[in-house]
């Protein structure tokens, strides 16, 4: 997923936030965890 922003890697708690977003996406689509994870990362940037 190549739509990220370099600056976001310097932002505190960005990793935790994307983890929570992945969890939410996977919880919403538990049968498609791979697609859900990719979608969450795409949304987060």
């Amino acid at each position: 997923v190549d739509n990220g922003v370099q600056m976001l890697t310097k932002v505190t708690a960005a990793g935790c936030s994307v983890t929570a977003l992945i969890a939410a996406f996977v919880a919403a689509a538990p049968e498609q965890p791979l697609e859900a994870t990719a979608a969450a990362l795409a949304v987060f940037g």
Binding site: V1, G4, K10, T19, A20, A23, A27, P30, T37
Partner: protein
């Protein structure tokens, strides 16, 4: 991690390298951060969204506490600082456990609670590990692509999805990467 059976393991490149054992004990703090991420995702996996021991409010509270965990935002440069931070994380996990149990605190221990307790044990192990050297908190010093091999190893070992977050994100399952 085998017991947790995570659905997704998320970490930046350094965390994934640490979890795969490719960077040594000096990266235990980063591994701890990734372990927390993995544990929450494992808890989600073990919970039926419609019929779960974790009420939706409690799960939201759990995620909120995780995001607010202050130890993750502070770099650890020595063993004492690292242990102090890990202790702080452990303390948060105690709060998370309380939130997870909620009104069912007197009820038999659920699988979800077991998951959280295993997670806390992981944090304790990180705190007890002899960490020193160039620890740099949760900031990655490697690019996502440098962790590709480690991510594939994790996916094979734990049969889970591995996400490496960074300027470019990698997502893969088993031996495949996307």
């Amino acid at each position: 991690m085998v017991k947790l059976q995570p659905t997704v393991v998320r970490g930046n490149a350094s965390e994934i390298l640490a979890l795969a054992g490719a960077a040594g004990a000096a990266w235990a703090a980063a591994a701890a951060a990734a372990a927390v991420a993995m544990a929450v995702l494992a808890a989600v996996k073990r919970s039926d969204p419609l019929n779960t021991a974790l009420a939706p409010l409690n799960r939201a509270r759990m995620l909120q506490l995780l995001v607010q965990t202050p130890a993750m935002s502070q770099p650890a440069h020595d063993n004492a600082t690292l242990q102090q931070q890990a202790g702080c994380v452990t303390q948060h996990w105690c709060i998370i456990e309380d939130a997870a149990q909620g009104p069912k605190a007197q009820a038999p221990v659920s699988n979800d609670t077991n998951t959280l307790r295993v997670s806390k044990n992981i944090m304790c192990l990180c705190a007890a590990s002899n960490c020193s050297g160039n620890t740099k908190g949760v900031d990655s010093t490697a690019s996502s692509h440098e962790a590709l091999g480690a991510a594939q190893q994790l996916a094979r070992t734990y049969q889970c999805i591995v996400a490496v977050s960074g300027a470019s994100d990698l997502v893969g399952a088993c031996c495949c990467s996307a």
